[in-house]
Every structure is written in C-alpha cells, then in structure tokens.
Amino acid sequence: AGEVIAAFTKNQVDPHFEGVRAGVEQMAKKMNATIRQYVPTKPNNITEGMSQLEDVGVTRPNLVLFMPIDPKAQLPTIKRLIESGTPVLNYNDKAGDAPYLAFVGQDDYKLGYDIAKMLFDHLGGKGNVVILEGIKGSNTGDERKRGFDAALKEYPNIKLLASQPANFQRLLGLQVMENLIQQHSEINGVIAAADASALGAAEALKAAGRGNVAVVSINGVPEAVEAVKNGGLLAIAEFNGFKIGCVATEIGLKAIRGEAMPKRVVIPGAIITKANHSEWLVPFQQRTCPAAADYAGH
C-alpha cells in the first residue's frame, strides 16, 4: 500500500479525460495509493507528453498509467521507462508494442462500427451522412474511422458526403458543420468521433433549422448523454473514461502488488440511447468504480 501512481491524460479540455482521472483517483483512494496527474500544458502536445514521461522517470513512481498522445512518437520513451524498471500500464489508447503490465481500454474499431451501423439502421439503410473525424494519427481516432468505413461498406445506399477532421473539438465541429450545411442541402446523419465535435455539429444543425438530422458520437460524457435525453444527439457508443480509469488503476496496482492479472482488458461499450441513458447521466465524481473482475473475468 501507499504506492505512488503517475497517471497520464492528454489534455485538460475534454471531459472524457476528467472521467479517466476521476476513475483513477477513486480506485487509488480505495486501494490506498497516491495519484499524481500529468497533463501537458498545451492540449495534446506530443513533445511535452514525451518530456513528462522522461521527467516522471526521475521521480520513480511505483506505477505509470500511460495513454499516448501519439504512439509512434512516444513508444521509444516509454520503452526506456519500462527498461529502467518502472512498471507501466497502457490505458485508453493503444500505445504500440512494449512490455506493459497490461492494456486496459475499449475496442475503438468496434465502437465506430457499432455506432455507424446504429445510425444507418435508424436511417433505414439509406441517406446522406458526413463524418467528423478525430485527430489523425491517434489510435482512437484512426480506429474509429476504420469502424465507420467498415459499416459504410455494408450499406450501399448510404452516401458519404464528406469526411473531415474535427479533432475531437467542439468549435471545430461547429464550424465544419456550418460549412458542410452550406454545401449539402440534404444531410441525414452525422457520425462524430467524439462527443465534443458531435455537440458542436448538433448546435450548428439546430441553428440552421436542421435539428432533425441524426447525430451520433462516441464517448458518453454526461453533457452528451443529456443531449441524447433531449434529442440533440441520437445515440452514443460508450467510450467510458471513468471505467477505464478505475479498471486500469485496479489492475495496475494489483499487478505490482504481485497478483496475476490479465494482460488485456477490453471494456465493452454500450450504445447509449434515449431508452437507456440514465446510468451515464451521473457525474463522474458520483459514480462508483466497477470491479476489474467484471471485465477481466477472473
């Protein structure tokens, strides 16, 4: 007990990461460990993320919970950290091949595929859609996009009008959508790689009097879930930072305390709709961590 855990998240802007941090804190408290949060001062700054990894190496925490801003760039640094004897668990985003304690996250490809299918079915298998991508090069963004594309292939009557990056951001989502609205008089559905850009897009649509366009996204932060409740968003594929944080912390701590732990925990994501949304309306701080065993099955 009393271990020090360094937990990395990518920015202080997206509530998804607040969910991660809340989960980590709650579980650490429960298991008697101390958390130190590391977030780059500039959102998603790769080189800064690397420096923070290097600096954390100096403080020799007992455990590092790591999500890459960019896996290619950060892999060598993380490998050196592991070589120097610091146990590292990879969570939220896949971070390439390295001797991690474990990976805890979700299947982004599947989330993308599922939510796209859900939208296409909602549209009756035909119509015009646009995609708001995430940050290029991030594992989550790329995998989700792959999932969207796979679903698209199965629906020949769904037409992809445009696929533009909105970088998981709200303002960009709004602006990109505003412009797409001008170009395309008929848009039936929007698939966003994350809640923030979906919410921005939904605002743009509403302002243009096209509130009836179905918007789906991935994440399920309370704000977006509220929008599902109000009909602003159609549905969300759950990418649950809080759960990821909890489970990652539990597995990591148990692993360094000597318990045998699974190497790979993939938390399934539900499709959040008006029908089932209430569970996700609860603020992160008031949620209770699930047990890792629920997902890891031991």
Partner: protein, 327 residues
C-alpha cells in the same frame, strides 16, 4: 532607407488616394473577385444562407480581432486575447449556471476581460515588460486559471434568452452579425470622432512624441488593453451562446486567426495606421477563403496553406500599393 531630411519644395502632388483608402479598395476588390468567381462555380455560394453563414463566422472572428486592432494601431500587441476569451467564457458560463441570470454572466465576462486587459496594461506600463512577453505570459496565466476553475468539466446548457446572442436571428440576420456591426460602428466612431481615438494613432506612430504632446500614453494604452479584453469578454459571451457550452479549450485556437484578420485587413504592425473596417474586411476575406475551399470541395488539409498564402499576398499587395512610402 528611411527618408532623410525631408522635402521642402512645395509641389502639389496630383490628387491621389490616401494609402489607407487604397488598402480598403484593394480588399473590397479581392472580396468581389472571389465572390464573382465562386458564384459562377458553385450554385450554393450566392444564397442568402451561405452569405449569412460566412458573415456570421466572420463576425465572431471580427469580435476577437477588433480590440486587438486598436492595440496594434497604438503600437502594441495582445497575445492573450484567446486565453482571455477562454477564461471569460468559463467564468461567465459558471456564473450563469449558478445564478441562472444571463446578466450575471455578461457582467462576469466583461469584467473578467477588462481585468485581464488591465493586468496587461499594468505589466506593460509599470513593469515595462514588452507587450509580446507580457501578453504571452498572461496567455498562460489566464489559461491556467481556466483549467483550474473548470477542473476538466464543461459548463453547458443555457436558456434560449441567452443563446439568442449566439444563435438567434433579428430581422432575418444572425445576432452575432448585428453585434459585429454595432461594435464595429462604435469602434469606427471611437477612432475617428473621439479625442482618445485620435490619440491612438499618434501613440502608435511615435510614442515618445505622443508623450511629449501631453497625451497620457500609459493610461491610454492600459485603456486599449482593457478594451481588447472587453472585446474578448464580449466574444466569449457570443461563443458560449453559440456553442451552448463553455470549455477551457475554445479561445486559444482563435489567437492566430485574429491576428491574421487584423493584418490581412491592412492594419500595420508598425502602429499608427489601420482601422476597424479593415479588420472587418480581413475577417471576411479569411472566412470567405475557407468557405470557398469547402464549396469547391478542396480538402481541409489545404486550408492552412491557402490562409498563409493570403497573408503573404496581403502584405505584398500593401507593399506594392504604398511602394517606398514606408520603411
């Protein structure tokens, strides 16, 4: 070369347009050209909807850039506007949520903006930190406070009355465009028809001479940074009302576009010349270009490149117009 001891023989030059007028005409011409080109290429361009869309996007950019324009004319620079906007947005959104009073939010946003501006002014006047560094430092401080205050959360969901400022229409025109027109008109009147407005140009053209002409330069400068902050606060309100949410990442990405809008508009970074109407044109040009690329189905990856090219072309055009007039 700078001009040396300068002309005496009083020879009336042929009636010629002032460089400022030329700059405006060049930009209006550019806008006209793009518009004509686009309406022939894309049927959707010339629709009222699209034009209002362009103007609405431009209006948000203009609001952020307007206060900056004054600061730049006076020979300064404000890199903190983006982060200031963020902070104002977060604090005011929280205030509205807490009190369910839009007026509380308005007061907080404007107050916070002015306060950050005041701090800039004090750092520059009293502590004599160069504007670049002082406002760059404030950028970090304001951003940090916003992060700390929000603690990773988003404040969202506002009353329709408040949201009217961002997404409402009046007489068929989006409210932000009205806000742009009103603030723009106030600014133009301020610059041309008030003592302080005239002083802004003198300060920018030669600060030492302005001081020795009895212009209270330090106080004026503080005032201008406060106005810049005020406009960041106003823009914050519009953004919050438009996005229906406040998060600590909204303002920073607006900084460079705002600077670009001022410069593309033709306000000189040397200080002493420029104006708000030009910034309005600059904001319009930048927005128009992105809209054009979209309508022409050019990939979004081209946007920064084209924007950069426009900035360079704008300086080159100005240089060609007042060839030799300036250092």
């Amino acid at each position: 070369m700078t001009t040396m001891d300068s002309p005496a023989p009083v020879i009336r030059r042929p009636q010629q347009l002032a460089p400022g007028t030329v700059a405006v005409v060049v930009r209006l011409g550019l806008i006209a050209c793009i518009a004509v080109l686009l309406s022939s290429l894309s049927p959707t361009f010339a629709t009222t909807d699209n034009l209002l869309n362009i103007l609405r996007q431009a209006s948000l950019l203009f609001l952020v850039a307007s206060g900056l324009t004054l600061v730049i004319i006076a020979g300064g620079l404000d890199l903190s506007i983006g982060a200031n906007l963020t902070l104002c947005a977060c604090l005011s959104a929280a205030a509205i949520k807490a009190t369910s009073q839009p007026t509380a939010g308005i007061a907080v946003a404007l107050g916070c903006g002015v306060l950050v501006g005041l701090t800039n002014g004090v750092l520059i006047n009293r502590v004599k930190i160069p504007p670049f560094l002082a406002t760059f430092g404030m950028l970090w401080v304001a951003q940090g406070i916003a992060y700390w205050f929000m603690a990773g959360q988003v404040v969202y969901g506002f009353s329709p009355a408040f949201r009217f400022f961002g997404s409402g229409f009046w007489l068929g025109v989006p409210v932000p465009i009205w806000v742009m027109l009103v603030t723009g008109a106030c600014g133009v009147i301020f610059l041309s028809r008030t003592t302080i407005g005239r002083e802004v140009y003198l300060m920018g053209a030669n600060e030492a001479a302005a001081v020795l002409s009895g212009i209270p330069v330090a106080r004026r400068r503080t005032l201008l940074y406060m106005v810049s902050g005020l406009m960041a606060g106003l823009a914050a309100l519009i953004y919050v009302a438009r996005l229906n949410a406040a998060e600590p990442g909204i303002g920073e990405p607006l900084l460079l576009p705002a600077i670009a809008a001022v410069l593309v508009g033709g306000t000189s970074l040397f200080g002493g010349s420029g104006g708000l109407f030009r910034t309005l044109l600059g904001a319009t040009i930048l927005t128009l270009i992105v809209n054009a690329l979209n309508l022409l189905n050019v990939s979004a990856t081209w946007h920064p490149f084209v924007t950069g090219a426009i900035v360079v072309l704008a300086v080159l055009a100005d240089a060609a117009v007042n060839r030799g007039a300036r250092r």
